[in-house]
């Protein structure tokens, strides 16, 4: 597999960052592609499997972080386009809802 990976970098605009629901949406979408898709905080890596919600959540990407995608495989181009679009659409999150979600999270922290 010497093919050149297809790449993209998009900033997270979601107020709570790449939290649970966005992470689930992103990995679910990634899993619909055959391509090997990786995601990272910066170009240098570490690159992690974009299909693993555990690993994507563990990135703890805050608002303003830039997500780098890299994909190889037949549908790599479509995968990168759709994933980038999902981040750009703010994971289809309603912001009022996102804030409420964050408040619930605080209650659990104790």
């Amino acid at each position: 597999m010497s093919e050149t990976p297809i790449k993209a970098a998009i900033e997270i605009t979601n107020p709570t960052g790449l939290h649970a629901r966005p992470a689930v949406k992103m990995t679910k979408l990634a899993k619909t592609f055959g391509a090997k898709i990786q995601v990272a905080f910066n170009e240098a890596g570490p690159w992690i499997d974009a299909k693993s919600v555990v690993k994507v959540m563990a990135l703890k990407a805050p608002k303003g972080a830039v997500l780098h995608f890299s994909a190889t495989g037949v549908d790599a181009a479509t995968a990168i386009a759709e994933l980038s679009d999902l981040v750009r659409r703010d994971f289809d999150e309603n912001h009022d809802e996102a804030v409420a979600h964050s408040a619930v999270g605080q209650g659990h922290a104790g």
Binding site: K60, G107, H108, A109
Partner: protein, 458 residues
């Protein structure tokens, strides 16, 4: 997350190496919990408890404990129940607790009261003889459990429940108003908090402040002691909830009936007379300093006060005050926002109650649970002597009266934060003894205010 193999990846590797599955799983998840707990972002930090929950639920399945998880709304019948078990169960659908052992003043009883979960202790019942049944009647007020209710008994029980609901409706009218006696004296009513999550369901308007935050909750289900940031986050959130009302946070009261692994003594012949409360904190100074730092930082956010448990001799206060001053100075040097909080004490050791004027503190809070057990020499967790463990014992009331009088004469704040503070039978006696500041489980507030409204000096 459970569907993702990556969650258990590290555990699979360990299992291949020969590590038992439960150990491997816990180790793998502990690592991830710690990773989230160390996150800078508050949202991600909060996910640590979600992962800890996943860890416990899978562990329950691995060890077979899942089969003992009761259905929603069930009455739990057992010899005793540890506080961690209570906290691990979902009480949102109701349910109750019926114990053959236990005590009304145990830690789990406090949690149940705070949550409004009916509980009966000291039942005379042979658990081995109990047959599977569909329904039982549990009367937490009357201390009764009926395992074979007839239709008539169920009818009568439901009638009592309806009456209780009517009474509760009458008390509820007092909940949002300040407590005032029949002769117009203002009585401060505060709440006790055993678990910060309790506050999510409460409106701060119901109380004049938080009279007692028990910080032992910080150490529940923790494989290691919480760090300064974690503690600061929790304290700050409590102060923010109170919205300007005073918040009294008690430093760690480990030992006694609240052992904490790795901190309190494992083997003491009589833990209640052993290394507990401030005694333990002054031995583990690093743990204590960390808590004081986190508290001083949270005090910059709102009116936070620090309360020392189990003070026996005055030098314990000066020693704690020195440590607190040192930590505040070090925070200031580092340019970290903080404030020197008022330092008060629990009056729960008879020595402190008898010679209260020897103890120089910013405020005093009578811990009626321990004061009662030390004065009556009857342990709160031994059902066979529970009848002796009575705060209405004149000797206990004399000490309470003495401390209240000292507060009036010296102009220092005196409150009471034991279970007696919310006990409908005891509130008139405490008012008679001169106490005008009561802290209690939030569920007791409405009725307590109704009782105060009907009281006047004899």
């Amino acid at each position: 997350m459970l569907g993702d193999d990556a969650l258990a990846e590290a555990a699979f590797a360990e299992i291949e190496e020969g590590t038992p599955v439960d150990k491997a799983w816990v180790a793998a998840l502990d690592g991830q919990v710690a990773d989230y707990a160390a996150a800078e972002d508050e949202y991600f930090r909060a996910r640590a408890s979600d992962l800890a929950d996943i860890r416990e639920r899978v562990l329950d399945h691995l060890t077979g404990a899942e089969r003992t998880r009761p259905p929603a709304g069930a009455i739990l019948l057992a010899e005793d129940m540890p506080p961690s078990r209570f906290l691990s169960l979902d009480w949102s659908a109701g349910g109750g607790i019926a114990l053959t052992g236990g005590s009304p003043t145990s830690h789990v009883a406090m949690l149940a009261r705070a949550r409004g979960v009916p509980m009966v202790v000291g039942l005379d019942l042979d658990l081995a003889q109990v047959q599977p049944i569909d329904a039982a009647l549990l009367d937490g007020e009357g201390g009764r459990l009926n395992l074979s209710p007839t239709a008539a008994a169920t009818e009568a029980f439901n009638g009592e429940r309806r009456e209780a609901a009517v009474l509760a409706g009458q008390w509820a009218k007092y909940l949002m108003k300040p407590a005032v006696t029949a002769n117009g004296e203002r009585v401060l009513t505060q709440i006790n908090v055993a678990e910060p999550a309790e506050l999510d369901r409460l409106d701060p308007e119901i109380c004049d402040g938080i009279g007692l935050v028990r910080t032992e909750f910080l150490f529940h289900d923790q494989s290691e002691l919480p760090d300064e940031e974690q503690q600061f986050g929790v304290y700050r959130r409590i102060v923010a909830w109170a919205a300007g009302r005073p918040v009294t946070i008690r430093t760690l009261d480990a030992g006694g009936d609240k052992p904490i692994a790795g901190l309190s003594m494992a083997q003491e012949s009589n833990p209640f007379l052993g290394l507990r409360g401030i005694r333990l904190s002054l031995v583990h100074k690093q743990v204590f300093r960390l808590q004081l730092r986190a508290l001083a930082r949270a005090a910059a956010v709102g009116p936070l006060k620090i309360m020392l448990p189990m003070v026996t001799i005055p030098s314990e206060i000066t020693e704690a005050a020195t440590l607190l001053a040192e930590e505040v100075a070090s925070l200031q040097t580092a340019g970290i926002a903080c404030r020197l909080p008022a330092l008060g004490i629990m009056v729960e050791v008879p020595a402190a109650a008898l010679a209260v004027d020897r103890y120089d503190a910013a405020f005093y809070s009578i811990g009626s649970n321990d004061l009662t057990q030390y004065v009556t020499a009857s342990a709160r967790d031994i059902a066979s002597v529970a009848n002796l463990n009575d705060t209405s014992n004149p000797a206990v009331l004399m000490l309470i009266e003495r401390v209240a009088r000292f507060g009036r004469e010296s102009g220092r704040e005196v409150s009471l934060c034991g279970d007696a503070g919310g006990d409908p039978r005891l509130i008139p006696l405490l008012l008679q003894a001169g106490v005008r500041n009561l802290s209690m489980a939030p569920t007791m507030l409405a009725r307590a205010k109704a009782i105060i409204a009907g009281w006047q000096p004899a």
